[in-house]
Symmetry: C2
């Protein structure tokens, strides 16, 4: 069964509030060496069918459901064929 | 500047409510081919210092701040040395 991973992250230049909060708190806690933080969310889908079908479904799902194209982008990776 | 990625995911056997909601909705929307979903969150840190220092900071941060060890686990990957 193909396994696809959809990774959703913020577009460059878009503020990532969770990352900014983490960075601020790391600096307060003494981890001043951390200069920047970026977050991303991944969704791993186990899909029945061919690799091509799995990729098509992942693209559909990423575009229609998981990504807000105004502020986010996605990338798809086939983990297992 | 070393770049480290901390990936936080649910432990096996722990219910992932977001993944279950996505799976249910994908099936309702006609993507019956999707048999299971797992989510994970990644934090990419740009750290000043050596690779060893960056790894140490990432481990600290993952353990103390980003992971709830009762239900989650983390893995660390050095992206750039």
């Amino acid at each position: 069964m193909p396994v696809v991973v959809i990774k959703v992250e913020y577009l460059p230049g878009v503020e990532d509030p969770e990352a900014l909060t983490i960075l601020k708190n790391l600096n307060i806690l003494g981890y001043g060496g951390v200069k920047s933080v970026q977050t991303s969310k991944s969704y791993q889908l186990n899909v029945q069918g061919s690799e091509a079908e799995a990729k098509k479904i992942a693209e559909d799902v990423a575009e229609k459901i998981l990504t807000n194209p105004v502020i986010q982008k996605y990338s798809i990776r086939i983990l297992k064929k």
